[in-house]
């Protein structure tokens, strides 16, 4: 059974159809990329999957049950975690606190146990802290930065904290929205490896939006291409690379031939 199934999902903003009859399937353990030109509707698609937007039409099934109508926090609790295209960290909280927030719905503490500081509370907090610390290390942040405010980290570091925060939710599916944007080649290389490790070691299925073709081509087992809210192609990296629709969508609009070479590299 597919882990995630989107059937005829449509999301409109007034007259604009940002996602149009999108059909999409994801199997457990895959790494799949969604690509497409700016404004294609990729982020909007993510937002409908995570419940931030409610689609006008269509079905979304996760592990066979519908996600339509659930709140984002309920969807998160079902096992979908995400990062954002324009980093959305809790800037005035420390790095480790950001990661701890990701564990929110796994922690059993409540107001009473927090106020009375039961042993179970203290134990849980210590365990959570240790776990958060491990995650910080795992995504490649210098652990001495744990107490630093998230907003004080460099761009690449912030992207990693976002990934650690998402991992803290212990998801089955991780949605990454342009995780390598703004990174230098070395950082890009590192996070690409990180994604593969997350899938291999933590057995988390990964769906990512990415513009950096080096990342996409290297890591994806399957690529879905969106344009004007629709899926125009899907297939292995090799298939996508040679798909004429894709080349047209991506480069057709006033692109020079050279850019094609760039993309294929």
């Amino acid at each position: 059974m597919a882990l995630l199934q989107a059937i005829d999902v449509t999301k409109r903003f007034g007259g604009l159809t940002a996602v149009n009859k999108m059909n999409f399937e994801l199997k457990k353990g895959e790494i799949v990329s969604v690509i497409g030109p700016n404004g294609a509707g990729k982020t909007t698609f993510f937002n409908t999957l995570t419940g931030l937007y409610r689609p006008e039409e269509g079905k979304i099934l996760f592990n066979g049950t519908s996600l339509i109508g659930l709140r984002p926090d309920q969807i998160a609790a079902r096992g979908i975690a995400r990062t954002f295209q324009n980093i959305r960290l809790f800037g005035n909280m420390s790095v480790i606190e950001n990661v701890l927030v990701g564990m929110h719905f796994h922690l059993k503490q409540n107001m009473v146990s927090a106020i009375l500081r039961f042993d179970s509370f203290k134990k849980e907090e210590l365990e959570a802290e240790a776990c958060a610390y491990e995650l910080i290390k795992y995504v490649g942040i210098d652990t001495s930065l744990s107490n630093e405010l998230a907003k004080n980290l460099p761009y690449g570091g912030q992207r990693r904290v976002e990934i650690a925060r998402a991992l803290a939710a212990d998801p089955q599916l991780l949605l990454l929205d342009e995780p390598a944007a703004g990174m230098n080649p070395q950082e890009t290389e590192e996070v690409t490896n990180l994604f593969r490790r997350i899938r291999d070691e933590k057995e988390i299925t990964i769906l990512l939006i990415e513009h950096d073709m080096r990342v996409v081509m290297r890591i994806s087992e399957r690529i879905s291409v969106m344009d004007y809210g629709e899926k125009i192609a899907e297939g292995s990296p090799a298939q996508i690379r040679s798909n004429s629709h894709v080349i047209e969508a991506y480069l057709g609009r006033g692109a020079v031939a050279g850019q094609h070479e760039e993309m294929v590299k």
Binding site: A76, H104, M111
Partner: protein
């Protein structure tokens, strides 16, 4: 030359070794002796009470801090207070407003929800005991002013203690009731709706004297009962402290000490509750919501539930303090719950530092002292000048021609406004900015 670095070095030196201990003790001694010898001096009192700040700020060990704080709060303050009951009143008010600020701080500082009607929850607590702890129940059929004076009291005064807890629950429920419809709103919209809610509660208190007289209207309810004060407590206090105080303390004054201590107890409890909640998944969720609602909900935080929790917790503090206030005044009336009060509490939070627990307490203390002592002190001084023959030199203006309209005590709003503007410009994070907890994490394996 007097360089900045040298000055900082000097400050650092003052804050190491035994020096801070000496400084604190000297500060306390000077303040206490000064207040003791001139119990009417505002300056003396400010010097004395600021010793709490020295105690908090300077670098000493915990046991010293705790014991000095306890002695100050439980011995020195009551003794000085009964020599001039006004000081106990100020301390009581500081505690009340500190509790309100801490409650509002949960809503505004932690969860980032701008609530301009916070004082409504205070009113709920006050009117709850105001109604059940007075004769009002039997006065329902009578319009204000015509009820017979020999009506019985509904409940014995000692139910007061129970009502502190009941008020916590009722205020929290009121918070949830208000929260449910409005928490979908953000920012300005939420502020306006809560402002309206605050006014609704006040207007209700003002007008629920008809068709049934529940609140006694603008006249307010009085007398509201206090818990009983056994004679042995009064005698005990006199036996113990009579010597240093220098006169026999009346039962009324022992009540002042009692309410001061009770308020202190409530405030200490509240501080514990707030700091523990803040350092748990609940506090983290609140801050996450403040920082980025969308990211918070995407990370699995149930927004509405957590916002309601913030509203309810904040409201419950105000509810408890409302009961305390009603009993200590033996009087409740709608004018104590005006919009200005909400703004006053907001000013305390912003002045001290939104989100900072020590900050908002300092904010509450500063604004209360400014309001009750400094402004009123100025008023007094001006009226003395008016009665004298003094003249302002150069412009040749005789003080006695100064309009009596110019009364600093009435410039509370100006004070709040000035504080808000100055803080926003010069120190938006407040006097003691909020800081995140530094966790001592397992040292990384050596690499």
């Amino acid at each position: 030359m007097f360089s900045k670095e040298k000055f900082q070095d000097f400050l650092a030196k003052l804050n190491t070794g035994y020096t801070p201990y000496v400084l604190i003790l000297v500060h306390i001694m000077i303040g206490a002796i000064w207040v003791y010898s001139s119990p009417r001096s505002n300056v003396a009192f400010v010097v004395f009470i600021s010793s709490l700040l020295t105690l908090y700020g300077l670098n000493t060990n915990k046991i010293f801090k705790l014991s000095a704080g306890l002695i100050l709060a439980l011995v020195v303050m009551p003794v000085l207070g009964v020599r001039n009951i006004f000081y106990l009143e100020i301390m009581f008010q500081i505690s009340v407003f500190a509790a309100l600020s801490l409650g509002l701080n949960i809503v505004i500082g932690f969860a980032g929800l701008l609530d301009l009607g916070y004082v409504a929850f205070y009113a709920v607590g006050a009117y709850l005991w105001g109604f059940f702890g007075s004769q009002q129940f039997y006065a329902i059929p009578y319009a204000p002013g015509i009820q017979p004076s020999d009506l019985p009291f509904l409940l014995p005064g000692d139910m007061f203690y129970l009502f502190i807890f009941i008020a916590i629950i009722v205020a929290a429920l009121t918070g949830i009731l208000l929260g449910l419809p409005v928490l979908r709103l953000r920012g300005d919209y939420l502020a306006i709706v809560t402002l309206g809610f605050g006014e609704v509660i006040r207007v209700l208190a003002n007008n629920l004297d008809k068709p049934w007289n529940l609140t006694n209207g603008p006249q307010g309810i009085t007398p509201v009962q206090r818990p009983t004060m056994p004679q042995f407590a009064v005698d005990g206090f006199n036996n113990f402290f009579g010597g240093i105080i220098g006169h026999t303390v009346s039962k009324a004054d022992v009540y002042n000490v009692f309410f001061y201590l009770l308020a202190l107890l409530v405030i200490v409890t509240i501080i514990q509750v707030v700091s523990r909640l803040n350092d748990s998944k609940i506090g983290r969720a609140w801050t996450a919501i403040r920082e980025d609602e969308t990211a918070a909900i995407a990370m699995g935080i149930p927004l509405v539930q957590m916002k309601l929790a913030a509203f309810a917790t904040g409201a419950s503090f105000a509810g408890a303090m409302g009961v305390l206030m009603a009993a200590s005044r033996t009087f409740v009336s709608p004018e104590s719950f005006s919009f200005m009060q909400s703004i006053g509490v907001l000013t305390m939070v912003i002045l001290g530092g939104t989100g900072s627990i020590p900050g908002v307490i300092l904010g509450a203390a500063t604004v209360t002292v400014l309001n009750l002592q400094i402004l009123q002190g100025f008023s007094l001084y001006l009226s003395q000048l008016r009665q004298s023959d003094a003249v302002i030199p150069i412009i040749n203006f005789a003080w006695k021609n100064l309009s009596t309209q110019l009364d600093p005590a009435k410039y509370q709003r100006l004070l709040f406004g000035a504080i808000l503007i100055l803080m926003m410009i010069f120190r938006p994070a407040g006097l003691i900015p909020a800081a995140r907890r530094q966790r001592e994490l397992a040292a990384d394996d050596e690499e």
